[in-house]
């Protein structure tokens, strides 16, 4: 699949759903003068609701820079980011409270599960909802539902240190889904998992994206589960240089 026929294939994939993410011409420059480093140049990506995107590329290619820019953690030097139809960043100028917007619209999953060590599994999920104004009881109920859905309900009261890597990652996924985000960003979420578990996690993203209508971007090196993605982008030297649409998904 080439750049030219992306648009038509995307429509097939997500049935013309509106864009969840519009990242246009994102450039990130660190330093200045002799020490200037361009980490990302004119990177553009549009992700529709329900679409699962893989972002590939070698180390230092700018994948994480792109992900943190779209995640409103590390604003770009220039370019625009629109999420759910709302322009939130223009260059490094925010058009809204980024912390609050992130809490309400974006779910994060990392290479390491990144759970808060002093909270139990259920509390790690609850905290995301309670920060969003959810009552404790409602947050607990949804956390249990999510854990049940992900098959880790029996570990609700365990601290992260008592869970296996796979269980921790499931809790992280549950936390990312807790606030019904319109965008899920995952940075090498399967790197610490074995092949089979990694694939299960990738399939889970796809399932969640399709069921909840979230736009999902997954930065990955794992070539074995690429068939799970609707679209695949590649970055090299800070450039978003190639995108393909997965034929298996498009015919699904």
């Amino acid at each position: 699949m080439t750049l030219e026929n992306i648009a038509s294939t995307m429509d097939m994939t997500v049935n013309g759903a509106p864009n969840a993410i519009e990242a246009d011409n994102l450039t990130k420059i660190y330093g200045s003068g002799n020490t200037e480093v361009v980490a990302m140049r004119d990177a553009t990506m549009h992700v529709k609701q329900g679409e699962v995107v893989a972002l590939l590329g070698p180390s230092g290619s700018g994948k994480s820079t792109f992900l943190t820019a779209v995640g409103l953690i590390n604003p770009p030097s220039s370019g625009k980011i629109t999420i759910d139809g709302k322009l939130v960043l223009e260059g490094d100028t925010p058009h809204t409270n980024l912390g609050s917007f992130r809490r309400q619209h974006i779910g994060f999953i990392f290479q390491k599960s990144n759970l808060i060590p002093f909270l139990s599994a259920a509390e790690n999920i609850q905290i995301a909802m309670q920060l969003n104004g959810e009552s404790r009881r409602a947050a607990r109920q949804r956390a249990m539902e999510l854990m049940d859905y992900l098959g880790v309900a029996d570990r609700a009261d365990n601290l992260p240190s008592m869970l296996s890597g796979g269980q921790q990652q499931r809790i992280a996924v549950a936390r990312a889904l807790a606030n019904h985000p319109s965008v899920i960003l995952a940075d090498e979420p399967t790197a610490a998992l074995d092949g089979q578990l990694g694939r299960q996690v990738m399939e889970l993203f796809a399932q969640v994206a399709h069921e909840q209508g979230a736009g999902v971007i997954v930065v990955t090196h794992d070539q074995r589960a690429l068939d799970v993605f609707d679209t695949i982008y590649e970055m090299e030297d800070g450039l978003m240089c190639k995108q393909t649409v997965n034929s298996i998904q498009t015919t699904r």
Partner: protein, 403 residues
């Protein structure tokens, strides 16, 4: 969800040890305040209890509690003759150090104006009041003497007939109560050899002067009784305590007595103030400075501990920021931990101090006012010491969660 308590529960052992450390430090701060209160209480207890309206002391001195004061014994009759004075009593007060069972025994000797004052104002813990003019004493419990015990002071032995509690001098020594005559005998006890030497010296000086040849009685005078030897001198008292008649005008009587050229007069409140602004003031300043220093040290230690606790949580803080936690949530977590640490430390200080302070040689009085003041200080240093941790937490970027 209370993040502060969740984090504490996870590292409860370390937090508990830290709280104990802070508690010990605060206990010392609390104890220093209590020691000061004890000193003030001990110093003023006598003035408050003895119930004198006016104190007549040696001219231009500040009275027996501040410095040496000597007035003639007959001053008590002069004072009693002043209109408006109901009664006057002799007051003899000095500190001695003797040896008992091979160990030093320090006591403040106080003379009671027998027979008008038999010590009826003393809070007896055992035994009885004085029943005779000589050879009986009432001792504070801190002196370690028991009823019936005989103690030799000077040329006489005295029997402990009663014990009392919390009667301590401003120097921290237990007070022993005797009749004025006995107190003077103890104070002015002179060894027989000293008397003999003084007589010989006077005799020798007389022989060398022509006047002694013309007046031979001078040489006879040299061999008179001890009390008539000018070098040894007749017994004097420290002060005279005056009780006024009901309705008498204090200031007017004070003015009358002040007109006498050989004495100074203070009201009980004035004497109390002199005491507090004299010896006790230096103690207050010293303890105050020490307390301030310890409080500062506690604050610095707390700040470093909270900073370390924050450093341990940097990743979690970054993660919280990443999932959109506002700064107030993180600030609240650190501040709550600081307050819990301060509160736990204060509680430990109070509980442990309550057990330890009664074992101290001097009284440690924990007044509600001082405890409240320390509680406010603990809250203040908790808040201040959390600033370093909060500053660090505020600088954490959500990016650090991805590292």
């Amino acid at each position: 969800m209370n993040l502060a308590t969740k984090d504490i529960r996870r590292s409860l052992g370390r937090f508990a040890l830290t709280a104990v450390g802070i508690g010990m430090l605060l206990m010392v701060v609390m104890g220093m305040g209590g020691i000061y209160r004890g000193i003030v209480e001990d110093a003023t207890l006598l003035i408050d209890r003895v119930g004198a309206d006016l104190w007549i002391v040696q001219r231009d001195t500040r009275g027996p509690f501040a410095e040496q004061s000597r007035v003639p014994s007959n001053l008590v009759y002069r004072a009693a003759a002043v209109p408006g004075v109901q009664s006057s009593r002799e007051f003899v007060y000095h500190t001695i150090q003797r040896e008992r069972d091979g160990r030093p025994l320090r006591m403040a000797v106080l003379g009671l104006s027998w027979p008008t004052d038999k010590g009826q104002w003393l809070p007896l813990t055992s035994g009885r009041l004085l029943r005779q003019a000589h050879y009986e004493m009432i001792a504070d419990e801190t002196l370690g003497l028991i009823v019936g015990e005989q103690i030799r002071l000077g040329k006489e032995s005295y029997c402990v007939v009663g014990t009392t509690s919390n009667m301590i001098s401003s120097g921290g020594d237990g007070i022993a109560f005797f009749s004025v005559a006995d107190a003077q005998a103890i104070q002015f006890d002179v060894a027989g050899e000293s008397v003999r030497l003084e007589r010989a010296a006077r005799d020798s000086r007389g022989e060398n002067f022509e006047v002694a040849i013309q007046q031979p009685m001078m040489l006879d005078n040299a061999w008179r009784p001890t009390s008539q030897l000018p070098a040894i001198g007749p017994p004097q008292i420290s002060a005279v305590m005056v009780t006024l008649s009901p309705g008498a005008e204090v200031n007017q009587i004070k003015e009358t007595i002040s007109g006498w050229g050989d004495v100074s007069v203070f009201t009980a409140e004035g004497e109390r103030e002199l005491l507090l602004t004299g010896n006790v003031e230096k103690v207050r300043r010293q303890i105050g400075l020490f307390r301030a220093l310890l409080t500062l040290i506690a604050a610095i230690i707390m700040a470093l501990i909270l900073y370390t606790l924050t450093l341990d949580k940097i990743h979690s803080i970054a993660l919280l920021k990443l999932i959109g936690a506002p700064n107030t949530v993180i600030l609240g977590m650190i501040l709550q931990q600081a307050l819990i640490l301060g509160g736990a430390g204060f509680g430990i200080a109070y509980l442990v101090g309550g057990q330890l302070f009664p074992m101290f040689p001097r009284r440690v009085i924990l007044s509600d006012e001082d405890l409240m003041q320390l509680a406010v200080i603990v809250v203040a240093i908790s808040v201040l010491s959390s600033m370093l941790g909060i500053w660090k937490a505020m600088k954490v970027s959500p990016n650090e969660a991805l590292a």
